[in-house]
Amino acid sequence: MRLFTIYTVDGVVNGMVYAAVALALVMIWRATRIVNYAQGAMAMFTTYIALVVIQHGVWYWFAFVIALAAGLVLGALTERVLVRPVESRPPLNAVILSLGVLILLEAVAPMLFGGQTQSFPAPFSRIDITTGSTQLYVSPFDLFSVGAVLVAMVLLFLVFQRTTLGLRMRAAAFNPEISRILGIRVGRMLTLGWGLAALLGALAGVLAAPAIFLYSNNMDEVLVFGFTGAIIGGLDSPIGAVIGALGVGLVLSYVSGYIGSDLAPLGGLVMLIAVLMVRPQGLFTFGRQRQV
């Protein structure tokens, strides 16, 4: 029972980080019908930027904000410069383009930041909290991670559902043509969408780095797990993405704990295949289903 609790808590904490990536992928998919395979690599890159800043003596929280801002800029730039020409072309082009960005970022990072694995600081202790004689199975950093992702999700929700900007972004994503004849600058909305998604990715990057360390492909697995969560939930559903990612986190944690940590990704793959065999469009895609 004790092990089960530990694995469950681990699963949820990790799942929240995957959920940030999953949500980022869903945001971009809903806006531009593209899967950004480079999302993980972008997050790795922005985390490196934060590390450099910290190594120059800057306070962690400034570096944290800089990482998020760098994500915003990186995402927006990528959309405006690289993705825009490809948005109207067949989907395969966008797949290859984002893979190209992935490869490029993972090659340039060691060039700029050095090839050896580095550690990344956590702003709070990563030791499980002990209150009196009972040991809880969460650390302060775990709580912060979960909290940070939750706050980010709530903020995004508020922006999308309660502001005019969010209304425009949703309109641009749902129906770009009609949005255009309503005077909405659809291009700008898409750029902003990519920027916000990359910001979420950057958050996932700094939250994951203390545990998985920092090297050029540290986020490959996180991307795959986030992607798995998004697919399981159905690429069109933000809530589905979060639930899917949490599910993936839990399954990975149980497989890792009860069977072996090497096989965790395989467990994730099995889960993915299982869901897709039953519902190829994902668990939470209802009604108005676009042809995949």
């Binding site: 998919w29 899967v35 395979y37 690289l82 020409p85 490809v86 072309r89 989907p91 395969l92 082009n93 797949v95 290859i96 383009l97 893979l99 190209g100 960005v101 992935l102 490869i103 490029l104 970022l105 993972e106 090659a107 340039v108 060691p110 060039m111 050095g114 090839g115 050029s216 492909n217 490959d220 697995e221 795959v224 992607f227 798995t228 697919i231 690429l235 072996g260 090497d262 096989l263 965790a264 990704p265 395989l266 994730g268 793959l269 993915l272 295949i273 897709l276 065999m277 190829p280 995949v292």
Partner: protein, 353 residues
């Protein structure tokens, strides 16, 4: 004779590839130094794998980000069998790897038959990341992280003058020539047309009586077999089969090869493989002469792949071979129209191209 050649694709292809094999074989024996022999073998291996992938993705439209994992299955099949019985003949190993990877391809194909676009890409991506962990976990069977060492094949006694390196290069070239011969015929055949029909318009294909799911699975099996064959040869080539040789980078490199060469182009697969093997060689040489630090030097080829992929999509949406193809087509059309005006002086000028 000419009319026979024109009518029979099989004969045409057969003669072409036979001649090609003879030329390459001779070059290996007479011209190439050991370093070149090694690289040429590598090009052949990547070309086999890339050819399968280009048929799957280019002709049939299914994106696979997991072909590195399929190569891994082929490599480990051969390696584990050799570890158990070092004297097993190479040809048997090749077929064993083809068999296991073919089965794996069928499983993936069936599982993925209903998946399209990003969903299939995601599933194969997960495979590419998950599978390399399996040998690490089942270390006793698969050699764990240290891997399994694979002996270099020895030429038969009758060919004592041939070095093992040359012998192996011949084997790789032969495998590549045979694979390309078979695939070239497949592409031109009814099956090849079916693959493309499903890619272009599934609904129309279904209405025309094509079994879409079976076609998708077939395409996957064919490409998997190529990856398996390549994987088996790969094990001999790098002499050590370990998880680090089959990371996501391999799958992405294969995709790069296919994109550079042009989706669906067999010639392009060779061109791209050539670049993928020789680029690290060239950049490595350049890096050491420019005294670049290792963290920069090692990553130059990857950086170039990334840039090339991005540039290829932005500039040549159908891959560089496609771009080359359109240039040569334009040149051919100009020549044709010029010839027309000179041989038919009485006819009016042809319409502007």
């Amino acid at each position: 004779m000419r009319s026979l050649l024109r009518r029979s694709t099989l004969l045409r292809h057969g003669l072409f590839f036979l001649a090609l094999a003879a030329i390459l074989g001779a070059l290996t024996w007479f011209v190439f130094d050991p370093f070149t022999e090694y690289n040429v073998a590598g090009v052949a291996i990547y070309a086999i794998s890339a050819a399968g992938l280009t048929v799957l993705t280019g002709l049939n439209g299914q994106v696979s980000l997991g072909h590195g994992a399929l190569m891994m299955i082929g490599a480990y099949t051969t390696s584990v069998l050799l570890q158990w019985h070092p004297d097993l003949p190479l040809i048997l190993m090749l077929f064993a790897s083809i068999a296991t990877t073919g089965v794996a391809g069928a499983i993936i194909g069936i599982a993925g038959a209903r998946l399209r676009g990003p969903y299939l890409a995601g599933a194969t991506l997960s495979l590419a990341v998950a599978l390399p962990q399996v040998p690490t976990h089942f270390a006793s069977l698969f050699g764990g992280n240290q891997g399994i060492s694979v002996p270099t094949p020895v030429p038969p006694d009758a060919l004592a003058a041939v070095t093992p390196q040359q012998w192996f290069t011949w084997i790789c070239l032969a495998a590549a020539v045979i694979t390309f011969f078979l695939l070239a015929n497949l592409v031109r055949s009814a099956t090849g047309r079916r693959l493309q029909m499903v890619r272009d318009n599934e609904v129309a294909a279904r209405l025309a009586g094509v079994d879409v799911a079976r076609t998708q699975v077939l395409a996957f099996v064919i490409s998997a077999i190529c990856a398996g064959l390549a994987g088996s040869l790969f094990a001999y080539w790098i002499t050590l089969t370990s998880p680090t040789g089959f990371t996501l980078t391999l799958s992405l490199s294969l995709l790069t090869v296919v994109v550079i060469g042009g989706l669906g182009s067999l010639t392009g697969a060779v061109l791209g493989s050539f670049i993928i093997v020789y680029l690290p060689v060239w950049t490595g040489g350049f890096a050491s002469s420019a005294n670049l630090p290792s963290n920069v030097a090692n990553n130059v080829p990857l950086a170039i792949y990334g840039i090339v992929l991005i540039a290829a999509i932005l500039v040549f949406p159908r891959g560089i071979a496609g771009g080359v193809a359109s240039i040569s087509r334009a040149v051919a059309t100009t020549f044709r129209s010029r010839r027309q005006t000179s041989t038919l002086p009485a006819s009016p000028a042809p319409p502007a191209q």
